[in-house]
């Protein structure tokens, strides 16, 4: 490992914090309303004329501005950006998984050490009453599936006793408690968003449980849909080139984080006959991985005419088959 890469890793160690904070909102079931984590959301626009917010560290050589293309062994070197939005909520569970987890939950409850309510709740407090009510409700519902024979008999006794207790408790619980309990209840957002229903492929708030990738459409017939990509200049590195191309094609209204300075894959192809020249016969695309945390793509209608945030499986319908063949192994199935 080169020393430069090593030094970069040390820097990246600190900045890796960012992706976690964004996906900290992953919640089983749905996204709670109250979670507020990001300063900027996906839809908030950035101030105009600001540079792209990312972790690209410009090397000193790039200060010398040169628009000359980098060509190695008759192939133009191109940098592409695999820009992904990570899952925001937990994945959907299969019916079997749901059953399995419910069963395990009941087993765990039955085998757990006894809970000392008198330790955790003050006698006669609202919290204690509320807990007793919850416990009585749970037992009355008979949710406790039991694993051992000794326990099953004891829990049956408990459930019959629980119904008696719950009727007593009903009298004790005042209106005040009920209001407090209602307030304490967490309200969940829907797992299916407005963008999902409208099939808005441009929205970053679609398919919350999946990894989404940015593809852009260029104004041409063949190979129109691609990852954002463009030629590397003579004096810049792949990361800088990918960042520059993203800014040129998709605008600067995005907060990005590039995962390292090493490409995650490459795609080599030859130009069609009419484009071929003496010195340049084809191109080699190196893909750089990045995450988006805020902002959105801005279409300028010059370099790109459209964009979409798609999952790996949906991408198949957009890009050319040979292109998909080349990039599919870099992408996440989930």
């Amino acid at each position: 490992m080169s020393s430069i890469f090593r030094r970069h890793l040390a820097k990246a160690a600190a900045s890796l914090v960012a992706p976690a904070s964004r996906s900290a909102a992953l919640v089983q079931g749905a996204t709670p309303v109250r979670l507020a984590f990001a300063v900027r959301s996906y839809s908030t626009p950035a101030a105009s004329s600001t540079p792209l917010k990312s972790n690209i560290s410009t090397s000193s050589s790039a200060v010398v501005s040169s628009t000359k293309d980098l060509i190695i062994q008759g192939k133009r070197i191109v940098a592409g950006a695999v820009l992904s939005r990570q899952p925001l909520i937990l994945r959907d569970l299969s019916p079997f998984e749901q059953e399995y987890f419910t069963y395990q939950k009941n087993l765990e409850r039955d085998h757990a050490a006894p809970f000392g309510s008198e330790f955790y709740f003050k006698k006669g407090s609202v919290a204690e009453r509320r807990w007793k009510q919850q416990e009585a409700d749970r037992l009355a519902a008979g949710s406790s599936s039991t694993s051992t024979s000794t326990l099953s008999s004891s829990s049956k006794d408990a459930s019959s006793k629980a119904t008696e207790e719950s009727s007593q408790l009903q009298d004790e619980i005042s209106e005040e408690d009920r209001v407090a309990a209602l307030e304490a209840q967490i309200q969940f957002n829907d797992r299916v968003t407005e963008a999902d229903r409208k099939k808005d492929m441009r929205s970053l708030e679609r398919a919350l449980a999946r990894t989404l990738y940015l593809i852009v459409k260029k104004p041409r017939e063949q190979h129109a849909w691609q990852f954002p990509q463009g030629g590397v200049r003579l004096v810049e590195n792949l990361q800088e080139a990918a960042g520059r191309e993203l800014q040129e094609e998709c605008g600067s209204n995005m907060d990005l984080w590039f995962v390292g300075r090493v490409p995650i894959g490459h795609y080599s192809y030859n130009f069609p006959k009419e484009l071929k020249s003496e010195s340049v016969k084809g191109a080699k695309v190196f893909f750089m991985k990045a995450h988006i945390f805020a902002g959105q793509v801005q279409v300028d209608n010059k370099e790109i005419v459209d964009y979409a945030w798609v999952t790996k499986q949906e991408m198949k319908d957009y890009v050319a088959p040979e292109y998909y063949e080349a990039v599919q192994d870099m992408l996440s199935d989930f």
Binding site: L9, A13, V17, A20, G116, Y120, V259
Partner: protein, 283 residues
């Protein structure tokens, strides 16, 4: 406190931890005066996965892939194997580091376990003083701690070999991720004036440890709710054991879980460069 800590008391008095007998839920709820004969023995704690773990999913979806990209050694050369029977001279007292593994998708650093450990000096005077720390560790981890008896006696401290002096919990699987989640989302952000883990954190073999003062214990939501019930707060250590080979990989992994690390201020070199520019130019 009596009912809940009864099992803990028994742990202190019983000779072997494997033979702890739990009181059944019903017994505790109905009668406090049950004799020991009525206790039933439950199977030893087994781990149940009761749902999809949030941080584990985050690891599988995001952190694992990113770590693969960030730590992949593109110019890996396996070290020559030392033939059997050849003795290696150590430089000073340093350990021999394990040879770096070949990069592969299966060798991406992963969190293996978290140890939560506390040692209480108060246990020297009476072993029952340990109960407070025992209960606190049990509350924050959700697992029954293991008692730690001193291996050696230390005369100046009045410590005799074999006396209970601390307790420890080893967390794995879902419970480990739950604890890490709680630590990172609730406790660490509320620790005022804690600058984060130092950049040099790690034991050079991929494990990271950190210590907490007694004041940090009360920041856990489980303790905060009934702080008055604990007679004395204790400091504790948390050790993260990972499959990483180097400090750097271990720190990358933990920072992927949002663990704060100290960062050298990047503005420092800028101001240095700016200072001469701002100064009047002399020929």
């Amino acid at each position: 406190m009596a009912a809940l800590t009864r099992s803990a008391r028994m742990a202190l008095t019983s000779s072997s931890l494997q033979q702890i007998r739990f009181a059944s839920t019903k017994k505790v709820a109905t009668s406090k005066t049950s004799s020991e004969d009525d206790l039933i023995t439950l199977p030893r704690y087994k781990e149940y996965s009761t749902g999809v773990s949030r941080l584990r999913e985050h690891y599988r979806n995001t952190v694992q892939d990113d770590l693969m990209v960030l730590t992949y050694n593109h110019s890996f050369k396996p070290k020559a194997k030392i033939p059997e029977g050849v003795r290696i001279e150590l430089k000073g007292n340093k350990h021999i580091k394990p040879a770096p593994k070949a990069p592969s998708p299966t060798a991406v650093p992963e969190l293996v376990k978290i140890d939560v450990h506390c040692m209480m000096k108060e246990a020297l005077t009476s072993k029952f003083n340990l109960l407070s720390g025992f209960m606190a560790i049990q509350s924050i981890t959700g697992e029954m701690p293991e008692l730690i008896n001193s291996k050696k006696g230390v005369h100046p401290w009045k410590l005799r070999a074999g006396n209970p002096i601390g307790c420890k919990v080893t967390l794995k699987g879902d419970k480990m991720y739950q604890f890490l989640d709680k630590l990172v989302e609730v406790v660490l952000p509320r620790m005022k004036e804690w600058p984060g883990l130092p950049e040099s954190a790690g034991d050079a073999t991929g494990n990271i440890g950190m210590g907490f003062p007694p004041s940090a214990m009360s920041l856990f939501p489980e303790i905060e709710q009934n702080f008055d019930m604990f007679p004395r707060m204790t400091g504790f250590d948390v050790t993260f054991t990972t499959t990483a080979n180097t400090n750097l990989e271990a720190r990358l992994l933990l920072s992927g879980f949002n663990m704060p690390f100290q960062q050298k201020s990047r503005s420092a070199p800028v101001t240095k460069a700016a200072a001469p520019a701002a100064a009047p130019v002399s020929p």
